[in-house]
């Protein structure tokens, strides 16, 4: 009983820390996106709130908190309230299996804990894929329950897009899973230890470069970001599925979008870029003698990889125009899907011929 209570307490502490870090990252991201976008377009971005606008996320959060909560006439109240929660929970729950740091165990009060992962389940990646699919329900239910044609169109588009691109995400990951022989993100990351050519982007016998490209493009599409932001195309659909949302419910969708961005970046880092592993064997801190602080370097490497992907999201947004809907579908089904399937075939043959 005491052991169970202790485990729960430790898990709760972990969840609190992870949620805090994720929320903080989202706050930073909202500002960073506007700043980076501004700089790339020769603007300054937000400059008013605080020095150089660094308090803008706080101001935005307060504004959303105090805004009127409007439920449009004729809306399905239950689903209207449920949809943002569904989207946010599905986006945040995936972080439970993401390894943020090395797979060490610490012993506290006679019980062993893994400090850098909330729950190391052996089907981690499958779990994440399942819950990101549930996020599509939030989007489509929110679109339908709003009783607005723009929301409905946005929701439908989003559902079609998320489903078609989730297929590509899943198939792109399969190559990595074949090489690693495990669905657990911890095991996959451990398999990429050593020099950076052991990362699955470059890994022999068959580098997963194509799968990586397919994954990144599909991840952008899955998180409804530019250039695949058709569900919320503001020039066509006002704001897509969250047109009718205001206040905290809108904030939930907003946070869900950014949490999804972070999640797909975490997966990309863990699966293709070696997760917490440094590009060189071991860690520099451990070699210098600070073995107990080696995890700092690992966490920093993981964060650096995640932030690289997040910056890539902003970079793509600053550069590319939106795709047309038929282009999006054709690209997903006729280009990405065959590439992903071909990659699986070649990887399977390579993994069979050159077992590691």
């Amino acid at each position: 009983m005491a052991e169970l209570a202790l485990r729960m307490a430790f898990s709760l502490a972990q969840i609190t820390v992870v949620m805090g870090v994720i929320m903080l990252t989202i706050m930073v991201l909202t500002l960073a996106e506007r700043k980076v976008l501004g700089w790339m377009q020769d603007r300054m971005g937000p400059m008013e709130v605080g020095p150089y606008g660094i308090l803008q996320p706080v101001a935005d959060g307060l504004k959303l908190f105090f805004k009127e909560d409007i439920v449009p006439a004729g809306a399905n109240r239950f689903l209207f309230s449920l949809a943002p929660i569904l989207a946010l929970v599905a986006a945040l729950i995936g972080f439970a299996v993401v390894p943020f740091g090395p797979d060490t165990t610490i012993e506290l009060f006679g019980i062993q804990f893994k400090p850098f992962i909330i729950s190391d389940i052996n089907i981690g990646i499958l779990y994440i894929l399942a819950f990101t699919s549930i996020g599509a329900y939030g989007v489509i239910l929110g679109g339908w329950a709003s009783n607005s044609k723009y929301s409905l169109l946005g929701g439908l588009r989003s559902a079609a897009q998320v489903i078609s691109y989730e297929l590509n995400v899943g198939l792109a990951i399969v190559g990595v899973l074949l090489l690693a022989g495990s669905l657990s993100l911890v095991k996959i990351t451990q398999a990429q230890a050593g020099w950076f050519w052991n990362w699955y982007v470059f890994a022999p016998p068959f580098p997963q470069l194509l799968a990586f490209v397919v994954y990144v493009i599909s991840a952008v599409a899955e998180t409804n970001r530019v250039p695949f932001d058709l569900p919320e195309a503001e020039s066509e659909l006002v704001a897509g599925f969250f047109t009718e949302y205001s206040g905290m419910r809108f904030a939930f969708f907003f946070i869900a979008e950014y949490a999804n961005m972070i999640l797909v970046s975490c997966i990309a880092a863990a699966l293709f870029l070696g997760g917490w592993n440094a590009p060189y064997p071991g860690t520099a801190l451990a070699r210098m003698g600070f073995v107990q602080f080696a995890w700092v370097e690992n966490v920093v490497w993981f964060a650096a990889k995640v932030y690289f992907f997040l910056f890539l999201f902003f970079w793509l947004r600053a550069t590319l125009p939106r795709l047309r809907y038929d282009q999006l579908m054709r690209f997903g089904w006729k280009v990405m899907l065959p590439i992903a399937l071909g990659n699986i075939l070649v990887t399977a043959i390579a993994a069979y011929l050159f077992p590691r």
Binding site: W39, M40, D42, R43, M44, T319
Partner: protein, 179 residues
């Protein structure tokens, strides 16, 4: 040639060129925007801002109530009520003069049309209001704008050009128009 195009497609060549362009702008960050309320743009010399009614250097209104500005205005901003100067049946002035600035498109045709240069365009542009009825300006308001934007006033026409003073011999006593 076809092979080259295909190669460009599969390597995302065009997208990479575009991303290089945005990255170049990020690295050589030189904003072209101004932080508007804190810093303001230098206006060009011929800037067409808020309209104003002007006065002569003795404080009398220039406007003679001829209605030509009203006729010239393409968006019917101006309404002039012309009347005789009391006691001088040959002279007229605008007893009422309204401008609905919500409609004004700042083309400057009224200023060009005015035969006595009674209208001027100032360099004011910060005329955002909470109530758009505040933008229906009457004569006093327009004169006030002119007073604060044109501190240097012209002399009366007959003193500017001695040759036209001949036509004004009848008016030795300069009338005080309006109020």
């Amino acid at each position: 040639m076809k092979f080259k195009a295909w190669l460009k497609t599969i390597t995302f060549y065009e997208i990479l060129v575009g991303m290089a362009a945005t990255m170049r702008h990020l690295l050589r960050y030189k904003p072209i925007t101004l932080q508007y309320p804190h810093e303001k743009r230098t206006l060009p010399d011929s800037y067409r801002g808020m309209l104003a009614l002007l006065r002569y250097d003795d404080g009398t209104e220039k406007c003679v109530g001829c209605d030509l500005c009203e006729a010239a205005c393409p968006s019917r901003v101006i309404r002039v009520v012309s009347s005789e100067v009391p006691g001088e049946p040959t002279k007229r002035y605008a007893s009422e003069y309204y401008m609905d600035m919500t409609r004004c498109l700042f083309c400057g045709m009224c200023v060009e049309a005015c035969p006595v240069d009674a209208l001027g365009m100032t360099r004011e542009y910060e005329w955002a209001v909470y109530d758009k009825r505040n933008l229906l300006l009457n004569k006093q308001q327009l004169l006030a704008i002119g007073d604060r934007s044109y501190p240097v006033r012209e002399k009366r026409l007959e003193f500017q050009h001695p040759n036209v003073a001949f036509f004004n011999v009848a008016f030795k006593n300069l009338p005080a128009k309006g109020t």
